[in-house]
Amino acid sequence: MSRILQFLFGRLPIGWLQLSHNRGRFIGALTGVAFANLLIFVQLGIMNAVAGATLKPYEFFTADIMISAEDANALNEGSNVARQWMLMALSDPQVTDGIGLLVANLPWERDTGSISLTTFGIDPGMTTLLSPDIASRVDLLRLKDAVLLDRRARSIGRDEAAGIRPQTPLRFESDGRSLSIQDTFSGGGGFGGDGYLFTSDQTFLSLFPARQSGAPDHILLRVHPFANVAQVIDRLQNLIPDKTLRIRSYAEAQAQDLTYQQRQKPTGVIFGFGVLIGVMVGLVIVYQVLSSDVADHISEYATFKAMGYGPAFFMSIILEEALVLGLLGFIPGVMAGTGLLALMAKVTSLPLTMTVSMAVTVFVGTVVFSVASGMVATRRVIAADPANLF
């Protein structure tokens, strides 16, 4: 450490020597920084999981444009859309395929407890709008009461999922109706449901008698490979008389869903606050350590000043201290964060993981914030009056 800093700053690593001189305080400070990092990692992990879980179901489809009702902020929220707009959209020369997407939650009473599956009803003939994973199995849905199950849904065991094949379907009852799971695909539990289910529009309508084939929840469209999606959207907005509809590119719909989950839903806002609190805890700790270190060494700093050292020198010492605190606090913080997120993922089956970008963000943030609070702490050093030394 000493050598690295010596090389980095081209002088004696005074900051490091000063921090490590008072071992008890140093360890306390590092623990504090590590704790703040851990707090941020957990919150960021949850926010990432929200994002991952929000975007997951969009992966099942290969749409270019999505038409939704004004109040449909997420796939499984809001009013539905008239199917006739899809037919109208298909009259655009650049729109090649369209599908009405029916969405509802289906309960499944299992021995281990009840789970709720986000169920998509689709026309099994429209494979071009489905991801390969789903498209390759969608023919199985032509059978009555046939469904495809998310093999990563909560409480579905690995062995149980592995046993589900078209030759050996798994039957289960939901609200008195018997369903037959023909095969599985890869999804994952989210915040709104415990997993996903695919079924034909026919089966869907018989499961949810209140729903109508003429009113799907969303309309998904595919355009010609070389079409300009924005221009197609412009044309559709002119073409379709219902001006309350949201006609968005598929990417934009996902981005807006994500923003909605993170900024408007209480859970997202709470986790966002958690990150903020972690940052503030870290800031306060680093500032406290640096400013009390400055206070303890004020006469030594004044001595350096009397010897002819200038502000740049003092700033570099504080910078060095901030760097040391940020760096050495980050290491245990990232290790504890990785462990804790893995543990939480296991318990919740949410996609909670430490990612490289999270680690880099938190590391850079820690160093930047440490340096910033160090800069504030330096002001007292720069103001130290060497005349009071004699």
């Binding site: 010596q6 081209g10 002088r11 004696l12 005074i14 020597l17 000063q18 490590s20 001189h21 008072n22 060494h297 006469s299 030594e300 004044a302 001595t303 350096f304 000043k305 009397a306 010897m307 002819g308 050292y309 200038g310 060497p386 005349a387 030394l389 004699f390």
Partner: protein, 233 residues
């Protein structure tokens, strides 16, 4: 061009405080210290000795009159000039003011490295040499807390001398030391100062030091009341 003395004070006045409590501490002080001379500044407590040292040492802004250091005016000088001036000076404070988390060698190195372009290795070598001169070659890697009072003050002397300063300013450097340590430290300062041609200004009450001084100046109530010159330098 006439070669100027390293320290020249002319018509120096200094005040403390503002408004009603504004009080003059230094009155019309003139002083010239020749190159290589050893000057002792004496006077009762509160007579202004420390104030003079801080003004000469560029630690306090000169308000009225002139302080010239190595030919450079400190009155109204900017921060960069003041820093330059401080680097020409080896300070020895009454309290040693060593950095507690740096070893003896590292503390002394800080005195060498203030001069830009002095790298680590030469600074370390210079620090060792300086500590050797003050008789501490067996304590190079000790932290201040492991050193006696006299040893700490000797480290401070080494730190002041390591950069080969043109000027040494010392404010009662032996006040906190026992008799033997005090004698040793003063001995060092006088001997090393003479060897290097350093101009030294020292505040002290120690009688044994007086006989080794070239000049003894006595301050009373901020006025120079007596100047004795023992021999011409």
């Amino acid at each position: 061009m006439k070669h100027e003395y390293p320290i020249v004070l002319k018509g120096l006045n200094h005040w403390f405080g503002t408004g009603d409590i504004r009080k003059q501490a230094i009155f019309h002080l003139d002083m010239s210290l020749p190159q290589g001379s050893f000057t002792v500044l004496m006077g009762p407590s509160g007579s202004g000795k420390t104030t003079v040292l801080t003004l000469v040492g560029a630690l306090r802004a000169v308000e009225e009159g002139s302080v010239r250091l190595m030919g450079t005016e400190l009155h109204a000088a900017d921060e960069a000039v003041l820093r330059w001036a401080r680097r020409q000076i080896g300070f020895i404070f009454q309290a040693h003011n060593l950095h507690e988390s740096l070893t003896a060698t590292q503390n002394v190195m800080m005195g060498a490295m203030v001069h830009s372009g002095v790298a680590d290795a030469p600074a370390r070598a210079a620090a060792r040499h300086a500590l050797d001169l003050v008789g501490l070659s067996h304590r190079l890697d000790y932290l201040p807390e492991k050193l006696s009072g006299g040893q700490k003050q000797r480290v401070a002397v080494a730190r002041a001398l390591v950069g080969n300063p043109s000027i040494i300013l010392a404010d009662e450097p032996t006040a906190a030391l026992d008799k033997d340590s005090a004698a040793e430290v003063v001995d060092l300062l006088v001997r090393l100062g003479r060897e290097r041609g350093t101009t030294t200004l020292m505040v002290t009450h120690d009688n044994r030091i007086l006989e080794r001084a070239d000049q003894i100046m006595t301050l009373e109530d901020g006025r120079l009341v007596k100047t004795e010159t023992s021999r011409s330098p």
